[in-house]
C-alpha cells in the first residue's frame, strides 16, 4: 500500500518532465522494472540482469540457425540504420548491444517477432541509462571506455524497460499490425471532430491518414522528433497510465494540429505529403514538447471519456 502511494506520487511529479539527474532511476521505477520498495531493489536488479545474460548465453548463438536467421538478418541490416547521424550508434560496441537486445526480444515474442521501428524504441532507454555515467555529451561518448559491468547493466536495463514498453503495444507489431491500423483510424476520427478544416482539407486533396500517421504510430513519433524530445515525451508517457498505447493518440492529434497553418497553406497533394512526412521539428526542445503534451492532455480530457459530447 505504501509503495503504491509513492509510485503514484512519482508519476504525478514526472508528468511534466523528469530532471536529467534522476531520470534513469525514475524511468526504471515508472516502467515497473525496479520495485519501489528500496530493500528489494538490489536483489531484483541483480536477478533481472542475470536473467537477461542467461538468455544471451542460452539463445544468442541460435541467431545463425535456420529458424532465426531471417530475424537476425533483418536486425543486422537495421542496426547501422538506427539514428545514423548520431555517432554513438555507429560504435561497434553499441551496435552489438542493440543486436543482442533486439534478437532476444524477438525470439521471446514470436507473435510479432522483430519489426522495423522496434530498433528505434531501444534508443531512448539506452541513452538515458548511459547518461548516468556521462557528464556531458552522450551522443559522442565512447561506450567502450566504460567498465564492462557498467556496459552490461545498461544493456540489461534497456532490454527490460523496452520489454515493458512493448508489452503494452504488442498489437502494433503482430500480423497486419491491427494496433496501428486502429490507432490511425482513431486519429482520423478524432481530428474530424477537433479540426474539421484540416480533416476536410485532407479529404479534398485525397490525403489519407495512413500515408503519414502510420509511421507516427509505428515509431511513436520518434522519426518526427529529435531524440532529446522523445526522451522528454517518454517522461510523460511513462507517467501516464497507458501512455504509449493510448495517450500517444492524443499527442499525435495535437502534433498534427500544431502544423495547422502550414497544412492549410499547401495547395496540392504533393505539397501536403512532403510537409507531413518531413515536419520541421529540428529546433524543438522541452518547451515545444511541453506545449504539445498540454494540448494532448486537453484533448484527452475532452474526448476520451465522452467521445460524442463535443463537436466544434
Amino acid at each position: 500500500m505504501y509503495s503504491h502511494i509513492i509510485y503514484n506520487e512519482l508519476r504525478k511529479h514526472s508528468w511534466s518532465g523528469i530532471p536529467r539527474e534522476v531520470r534513469p532511476i525514475t524511468w526504471r521505477l515508472l516502467s515497473g522494472y525496479l520495485p519501489v520498495n528500496m530493500e528489494r531493489r538490489d536483489l531484483v536488479l541483480k536477478r533481472k540482469r542475470d536473467e537477461y545474460f542467461g538468455f544471451i548465453e542460452q539463445y544468442y548463438h541460435s541467431r545463425t540457425d535456420e529458424t532465426y536467421k531471417d530475424t537476425y538478418r533483418q536486425i543486422h541490416i537495421d542496426i547501422p540504420r538506427t539514428n545514423p547521424l548520431i555517432p554513438l550508434f555507429q560504435q561497434p560496441a553499441v551496435q552489438e548491444v542493440f543486436e543482442r537486445i533486439l534478437f532476444i526480444w524477438a525470439i521471446r515474442h514470436p507473435a510479432s517477432g522483430y519489426v522495423q521501428g522496434i530498433n528505434d524504441l531501444v534508443t531512448p532507454f539506452f541513452v538515458v541509462f548511459l547518461s548516468e555515467f556521462v557528464e556531458e555529451d552522450v551522443e559522442n561518448f565512447d561506450v567502450a571506455s566504460l567498465p564492462l559491468e557498467t556496459q552490461r547493466n545498461i544493456e540489461a536495463d534497456s532490454f527490460w524497460c523496452m520489454t515493458k514498453l512493448l508489452d503494452g503495444i504488442q498489437d502494433n507489431y503482430t500480423f497486419a499490425q491491427p494496433g496501428i491500423q486502429n490507432k490511425v483510424k482513431a486519429l482520423e476520427e478524432l481530428v474530424s471532430r477537433i479540426d474539421e478544416d484540416i480533416h476536410n482539407y485532407f479529404k479534398r486533396y485525397e490525403v489519407e491518414y495512413l500515408q503519414f500517421a502510420f509511421r507516427w504510430m509505428n515509431n511513436l513519433l520518434m522519426r518526427e522528433l529529435p531524440l532529446r524530445c522523445t526522451i522528454r515525451l517518454w517522461d510523460t508517457y511513462q507517467a501516464e497510465q497507458e501512455g504509449f498505447s493510448h495517450f500517444h493518440l492524443y499527442v499525435c492529434a495535437a502534433f498534427l494540429i500544431e502544423w495547422r497553418k502550414e497544412i492549410l497553406s499547401m495547395v496540392d497533394f504533393q505539397g501536403l505529403l512532403m510537409l507531413l512526412q518531413n515536419l520541421p521539428t529540428i529546433h524543438w526542445g522541452n518547451e515545444e514538447v511541453g506545449l504539445l503534451l498540454a494540448e494532448a492532455y486537453r484533448l484527452k480530457y475532452m474526448f476520451a471519456d465522452a467521445p460524442n459530447h463535443y463537436k466544434r
Binding site: 519489426v115 522495423q116 502510420f214 509511421r215 509505428n218
Partner: protein, 212 residues
Amino acid sequence: MAKQYDVLFRLLLLGDSGVGKTCLLCRFTDNEFHPSHISTIGVDFKMKTLEIDGIKVRIQIWDTAGQERYQTITKQYYRRAQGIFLVYDITSERSFQHIMKWASDVDEYAPDNIQRILIGNKSDEEEKRQVATGQGNKLAKDYGMDFFETSASTNYNITESFTRLAEQVLAANKKDLDLLRASVTDELNLAALEEEEGITDGAAASQKGCWC
C-alpha cells in the same frame, strides 16, 4: 497560371529490405547518396517532374518498407500504381530469389496494365556480387520486363531506369492520353484544364490526366 505538368502518375518501389530502394529514389529526386540511410517505415513519398517527348510528366514515387510485416500496409498502394520497380541487390542472391514473390504479389494486387521494370542495384560492389548480370537479364526476359543494373552510390543508370519506366507507363496509356488530348481544345493543356475546373492533383489523378 503556368503549366506545371501535363500528366501525373504513380510509381512504386518494391523489393527486399536493404536492397537500396530509398537510395535509388534519393539519387533520382535529389541527386544525393547516404550510405547508411535510415530504414523506411511503411511508405515514403517523393516526386519529380520529367520531360518525355515534349510531355511534362510528373511522377509520384512511393517508396516502401521491404520487411514482410509491412506488406498489409504496402499492398494498399499497389492498386493505384501505374509502374513498379522490382529491386534486388546484386550482392544478395536471396533478394534476387525473392523477386519472384514480389512479382506474383504485383500480379495479384496491381492493375492489369501495370508496367514493371527489374533493377539489380549496388552494381558498384562487383567484388561482392552474387547475382550475375545474365541471371538478371534472363529473369527480366522471362517476365517480359526491361532490366537495368544500377548503382545509387555511383549514380549509374538511375535516370535511365526511372525514365524508361516512365516512358513505358506513358506508352501503355497513350491511347487514353490521346483521347484526352483530342477532347481538349488546342490551347488547353491537361494541367490547365484541371486547374480551371478546380480539381486538385489528387482528384485529377483519378479523373483526368492520369490512370489510376
